[in-house]
């Protein structure tokens, strides 16, 4: 679905009434697969590449999903298995009191009004089966105890709603017991995967990443061309040919970023920003073509897939004999790095505790995993005055900052990016309090949902975020939405086009590079987007 096929923004949500609910009880309301609100199935070839069950051609809107005959058994067995492996899952099945505090915390509910997108009901979809099949009271009383059998309509409902959750964890902040719907969704998707129900926007990046090291399936020689192209762009803007070390053995630091940063605008400006900053400080580092992806769509597939894809980073760090690892501006990547990598693929005892070679700062908080976030790294550089900055070059940009879900609610990374932004840009305005920091709203395109066929749902789910952006646009003249996430940069661009025209989207290191005075640079007349900097005239002689 294309953007122009959607109703006008003000009409999209005019029928949304939070307090108007269907007459029929939710357990009896079958799911309605409306185009624009669901995702296309994974192609068989992608499942085969990563050895996943039941690869076949199937269509969501057709009755027969070509499931294995014993699909119920498979799922219930997988269910039991996970109840015994994840205390989180077991507990979240048991202790919800249905107080409803989470109900209006989900962006998909706020923009769509579908009650099954209230986090509590999303979890009840699976909890009802849990009660029916795994609890004493449920076995005895069935429906009266809130249980229901795992039937095909229930399974279809799971598919629809677990791929309408972007695993942003906002509900978990408000839950009095910390019940995390992302965890429930992750397990729900794992169960769906067991019978071959997955979406292509997740499985294609997974398959590509597994085979070639990045979501887009760019082979090593393609990467080199792509990256050199950006090296040239920087030279055009600054007159400096920056370093581009690739697969360099013995470098001090391995740098891993999400592939979204080199695949398309506006991510590429951030990528150029990294190159400029790391060149200017003379860092001894290297890119890798094998570990050319920080993002990890395994997080949207299964815990096993997280591990399979993430393994490349430590493996490459070991092969290249680096001391530690630096990671780029990405959201869910940082959930994986921060919360899963060391547990799954560690211990990283072949690496050293990270120390900035420029400032000597020890990154104590990363002494186990040995991987540092570029925002931590750069804010440390700024703190020690290692970057020569001219923020006035960003005067034409009035920014606000979108906390991406995972750095906010899984890492707790709030101040570093803000420190950087305040230093490199004079016009920084926060969005309203209920929509930033740990209460930040999702871009509605995370967890594999940022595809075109799901456009209506994305625009609906984007309402809360866009609403806050419109507010600062109208009140403060904001024209740039900054974020530290590759998925954000891709999906928020579309969302701004729809909901808040005149606001562009970009990463933080793009602004750092704009402000960065590089040794021997030529007079800057354009910013890193190649757009003229207002008030700066190109010199006649140089033309």
């Amino acid at each position: 679905m294309e953007l122009h096929e959607l109703p006008k923004p003000e009409d999209l949500v005019k029928d949304v009434k939070y307090r108007k609910l269907p007459e029929k009880p939710w357990m009896q309301e079958p799911v309605d697969f409306k185009p624009g609100t669901y995702n296309y199935p994974a192609l068989a070839k992608n499942l085969k590449k990563v050895h996943m069950p039941n690869p076949r051609e199937w269509h969501v809107d057709q009755q027969d999903w070509h499931l294995p005959d014993d699909w119920q058994e498979i799922i219930l067995k997988g269910f039991k298995d996970r109840l015994e492996k994840y205390r989180s899952f077991r507990l979240f099945m048991d202790i919800c009191v249905r107080c409803g505090a989470c109900a209006d915390k989900c962006h998909f509910f706020l923009g769509g009004g579908d009650p099954k997108n209230m986090p509590v009901l999303r979890a009840e979809l699976i909890r009802s089966v849990y009660r029916n099949d795994f609890t004493t009271v449920g076995r005895l009383l069935g429906n009266l105890a809130g249980g229901r059998k795992l039937t095909l309509p229930v399974l279809k409902e799971w598919f629809y709603y677990f791929f309408q959750c972007s695993e942003c964890r906002r509900c978990s902040v408000f839950c009095p017991y910390g019940i995390d719907t992302a965890e429930v969704t992750m397990i729900g998707r794992e169960l769906l995967n067991l019978v071959g129900l997955n979406i292509n926007w997740v499985m294609e990046p997974v398959a590509n990443c597994f085979m070639t090291g990045n979501h887009l399936g760019i082979p090593p020689h393609g990467l080199v061309e792509n990256w050199e192209f950006m090296q040239d762009d920087i030279e055009e803007i600054t007159g400096i040919k920056v370093n581009l070390p690739i697969n360099k053995k013995g470098a001090e630091i391995l740098f891993v970023v999400p592939s979204g940063d080199y695949f398309a605008d506006p991510g590429s400006y951030t990528f150029m920003g990294y190159l400029a900053v790391l060149h200017e400080i003379g860092l001894d580092y290297t890119w890798s073509t094998y570990a050319s992806e920080g993002g990890n769509f395994g997080l949207f597939t299964s815990h096993e897939m997280i591990k399979r894809l993430n393994a490349k980073i430590y493996a490459e760090a070991k092969r290249l004999k680096v001391k530690w690892i630096l990671g780029g501006e990405c959201g869910h990547m940082w959930r994986v790095i921060h919360q899963y990598m060391d547990t799954m693929n560690g211990p990283a005892d072949f690496l050293e505790e990270p120390v900035s070679p420029i400032t000597g700062t020890k990154f104590e908080n990363a002494k186990g995993t040995k991987m540092v976030h570029i925002a931590e790294f750069t804010s440390d550089l700024i703190r020690h005055g290692k970057l020569n900055l001219d923020p006035s070059r960003n005067d034409h940009i009035r920014v606000t900052y979108h906390d991406s879900c995972n750095p906010a609610r899984a890492v707790g990374l709030f101040e570093e990016p803000r420190d950087i932004i305040r230093t490199v840009c004079k016009n920084f305005y926060e969005m309203p309090e209920d929509s930033i920091r740990e209460k930040t709203y999702c871009c509605a395109g995370g967890a594999g949902l940022g595809n075109d066929e799901n456009m209506e749902m994305r625009m609906r789910g984007g309402l809360p975020r866009a609403n806050a952006v419109r507010y600062v646009r109208d009140q403060r003249g904001v024209n740039r939405l900054l974020c530290m996430c590759a998925i954000d940069r891709a999906t928020l661009s579309t969302m701004m086009e729809y909901w808040a025209p005149d606001v562009s989207v970009g990463g933080i290191h793009e602004l750092v590079a704009n402000a960065l005075i590089m040794k021997g640079e030529k007079k800057r007349t354009v910013d890193f987007r190649g757009e003229p900097i207002p008030g700066v005239e190109p010199d006649e002689e140089e033309e």
């Binding site: 205390r87 092969r319 899963y340 609610r409 309402l463």
Partner: protein, 334 residues
């Protein structure tokens, strides 16, 4: 399940239970069963049930540290860490859990969203659920502690102090305890919001109403016994102490209302381990709250971590070696 069906099914069960005890001690006269056997049975189910459920949870590993961060994490020395909403050490976790368990910190954050004209979304503070939730739980706790006057001799002084403050205003005779009123009001609010707020009505299950009705019935029968159909407390205490010292005996002449009250309490105790009421011990186990956000500092161990199939660098280079060489990338094998 239809909302009204849920309400009435739950109400019916609670009324049925009340009737069972009423007939059981009245016409049938089985005071021994309702005064001795059922309370002991309920206590056993309550204790064993809760301990078994806790052990069931504890037997399941916590494979990953999935702390939900609600504030600035610990990072660079000059950046202030919010150790209560994003703890990095045990003290922080203890503080966070304290706020969660005793003050319902997360619920305090609650907001209410409203969608206005022109797709404008606004948020208002919504602390009623927090307020009534906390009133409900604390008055429940106070009431339970006050009941210790029947189970202890001599009575600990804190029990006397609680009763003294709880009856401070000396309203009516016998003095009405403030927590009794607050308790009924708060439980009533929790019920009303379930039927009045459409979203909550839509998602509520019979078990949600059942727990509330049962608790309300206990409260109402207790207040009726204290204020209207009074019973001989000397004998009530004799029964309670008899049960507690395993010398159970049924004193003659305690009014039937007492047995109804007692039976409903027993029902709650039996229901507790099998229901959502397990949120009480459960909150201590919640991995998004009880773990420190020190993931990159300290390695969290997953006991079932197993090797997985990966695509190795060797396989990768084998596939692309010639092309890598062509663009000048170093290769491991020539």
């Amino acid at each position: 399940m239809n909302a009204w069906y849920s309400v009435f099914a739950a109400l019916f069960i609670v009324l049925f239970l009340t009737l069972v005890s009423l007939i059981g001690v009245g016409p049938v006269g089985a005071k021994g069963i309702f005064g001795i056997y059922i309370p002991y049975l309920a206590a056993v189910v309550f204790f064993v049930g809760i301990v078994v459920r806790i052990i069931q949870w504890a037997k399941v590993p916590v494979p990953f540290n999935i702390c939900t961060t609600g504030g600035q994490g610990k990072s660079l020395p000059w950046i202030k860490n919010d150790n209560l909403d994003c703890p990095h050490n045990t003290w922080g976790v203890i503080g966070r859990m304290f706020l969660e368990v005793f003050l319902f910190r997360s619920l305090f954050r609650n907001t209410k969203a409203q969608l206005g004209q022109g797709a404008k979304l606004t948020f208002a503070s919504a602390k009623w659920l927090w307020l009534f939730g906390i009133l409900f739980h604390y008055s429940f706790l106070t009431i339970v502690l006050r009941h210790l006057r029947f189970f202890t001799e001599p009575m600990p002084s804190f029990v006397q102090w609680i009763s003294y403050f709880d009856g401070f205003f000396e309203l009516l005779l016998p003095t009405v305890f403030l927590t009794d009123i607050v308790f009924l009001l708060a439980a009533g609010y929790l019920f009303l919001r379930r039927v009045v707020i459409p979203q909550i009505r839509y998602l509520s299950l019979p078990s949600d109403y059942f727990a509330l009705f049962l608790i309300l019935a206990i409260g109402i029968s207790g207040v009726l016994m204290r204020q209207v159909w009074k019973v001989d407390l000397l004998q009530v205490k004799e029964l309670a102490l008899g049960l507690a010292s395993f010398r159970p005996a049924i004193p003659q002449g305690i009014g039937d209302i007492f047995y109804i009250h007692l039976f409903l309490v027993c029902c709650l105790a039996v229901y507790f381990p099998f229901s959502k009421l397990m949120h009480a011990p459960g909150v201590f186990f919640s991995p998004t709250r009880n773990l420190a956000n020190n993931n990159r500092m300290v390695r969290h161990i997953n006991p079932w971590n197993y090797p997985v199939k990966v695509h190795t660098y060797e396989e990768y280079e084998d596939e692309y070696r010639e092309k890598m060489k062509a663009v000048g990338l170093p290769v491991d094998k020539e």
